[in-house]
Amino acid sequence: MSEYKGIMVHAELREKELAPVTLELLAGGRKVADQLGDELSAALLGHGVKNLAKELIAYGADKVYLVDHPLLADYTTDAYAKALYAVLSKHKPEAVLFGATPIGKDLAPRVAARLRTGLSSDCTELEVDVQNRLVVGVKPAIGGNVMARIVCPRHKPQMFTIRPKALKPLPRDDSRTGEVVEEEVELSLSDVRVRRISFVKEVVGEVRLEDAEVVVAAGRGVGKDYLKLVEELANLLGGAVGSTRPLVDDGLLPPTTQIGQTGKITRPKLYIGFGISGAVQHTVGMQDSEVIVAVNKDPEAPIFDLATLGIVGDVREILPALVSRIKEIKGS
């Protein structure tokens, strides 16, 4: 097993830029690598993205393995799994980190199974067992009601997906130096079995929910006629619109807005929820927000157990008043 060395991060991209989670993975990987006295590398797969290597280094990588190929321009399971498997088989890192994003969670289990190794999902923290050279994944389970520690003691590499926003990126340091290693991987069109035909964008408001520093969320207590105000408030605060499942089930907001167990996990600086009861299936997706403001007419609503500032009151009065007050402040 000692042939396995170093920590590697899958550098997830978003339209030829590094995805925010990639910087978070670098920070987590850097910490683990330093504790183990290891090197931190990044696997950068894509097309025409060589320029991103120095960014990866500035955020903590010692080395970047670059696989540049036209068939890696868009993410596909088949091409990415093949390329990453090639890099992992050749360089044999002790541990590999992925974002717990749709891409990371599609790719990581595929590659883990190919390597017949273990994958711990949705970790929010990584610890290190230095003596046994193990990376310990800490993750919420059962909707955040309990936490679990998971290890992969007998197999290498140890693989992890890490929830976006769980870790903080290191400050960018352009004086850092590192090595860029270009890797050749043979890929042909016949390797790619699932072909993308089109992409349909469905975002409400101007900011992506999972990256947003501010989330304004609507629950069933926000009448249909008031949803526009929720969106307006989100835009005024430079935030994103979130929702509970009933609104998605009723077709009032698209599934991309749903927060929670079967939706998205968010960790904004500020979450404001209107007319949301606070069912665990929802709160698992917002409970780690730094500040939580909740408006609900029911003083017993469980959301108040989490709220930094809880307001017992009617959304139909408070929401319009808040929007006009903020416009007033912004206008002056």
């Binding site: 749709p102 289990p109 992969c152 599934p255």
Partner: protein, 266 residues
């Protein structure tokens, strides 16, 4: 056989969300299962529904498969009552304690033994494991293309066209058969088993297969075959309840505005 050969993989899970409190047994460091009802994993009911709908549209047969203890038969019966045609329970003491890879290994072997399928459906993730690993791992072990997070599925001329739910919208993809698909809740509304369905379910074929029957060895299944191990379960630190206030709209708006300024968004 005419029509589609469809498999759907389901899991019976403890519904911890229906109980007031999730308890950890301090001795064993496992979750207390007593008094927690067992249900068919909610997303797997969407997978069953999609399988039955595909059969209704294209003809063919749906085989429902689960790995679990003997009582997981209940879950299979529910799937049969919803319209699946036959069921296979993969059950063996030595399968216990399986992580996702060790689960996928058993499912893959069963699927090979059943002669393969045109479409294999899974839920995106389970209520208890919450990993979303088993689908992709199973696809890999069977060397099949995978389409995850599917919210719409169509089969035509030996191909599938699917809509995959992503962060910012959805992607439309196309793949040849055979293929493995994992579904999200947006794909359909699962039917309730009809009375007739429930009566017929118990007459449909159901087999139970163990490790020897699958020709697997102990080192690749169950706890021993699992690369990952849970070493500790503990309660998260609960955040303290903050301030709860009421008042006139203008009063509370001022409080919110204060908070927004404090956080720096205003």
């Amino acid at each position: 056989m005419n029509g589609l050969r469809i498999a759907v993989c389901i899991k019976q899970v403890p519904d911890f969300f229906s109980v007031k409190e999730v308890k950890i047994d301090p001795e064993t460091k496992t979750l207390v299962r007593e008094g927690v009802p067992s249900i068919v994993n909610p997303l797997d009911r969407h997978a069953i529904e999609e399988a039955v709908k595909l059969k209704e549209a294209h003809g063919g047969e749906v085989t429902v498969i689960t790995m679990g203890p003997p009582q997981a038969k209940e879950a299979l019966l529910e799937a049969l009552a919803m319209g699946c045609d036959k069921a296979v329970l993969l059950s063996d003491r030595r399968f216990a304690g399986a992580d996702t890879l060790a689960t996928a290994v058993v499912l893959a072997e069963a699927i090979r033994k059943l002669g393969g399928f045109d479409i294999i459906l899974c839920g995106k993730q389970t209520l208890d494991g919450e990993t979303a690993h088993v689908g992709p791992e199973l696809a890999e072990l069977l060397d099949l293309p995978q389409i995850t997070y599917v919210k719409k599925l169509e089969v035509k001329e030996g191909k599938v066209v699917a809509e995959r739910l992503l962060e910012e919208g959805y992607e439309v993809v196309e793949a040849p058969l055979p293929v493995l698909v994992t579904v999200v809740k947006e794909i359909n509304t699962p039917r309730y088993p009809s009375l007739r369905g429930i009566m017929e379910a118990s007459k449909k074929p159901m087999e139970t297969w163990n490790m020897e029957y699958l020709g697997l060895s102990q080192d690749v299944v169950g706890l021993l075959g699992s690369p990952t191990q849970v070493t500790d379960l503990f309660y998260p630190e609960r955040k303290r309840r903050g301030e709860v206030i009421s008042g006139s709209a203008s009063e509370v708006v001022e409080k919110i505005v204060e908070k927004l300024k404090e956080v720096g968004v205003l």
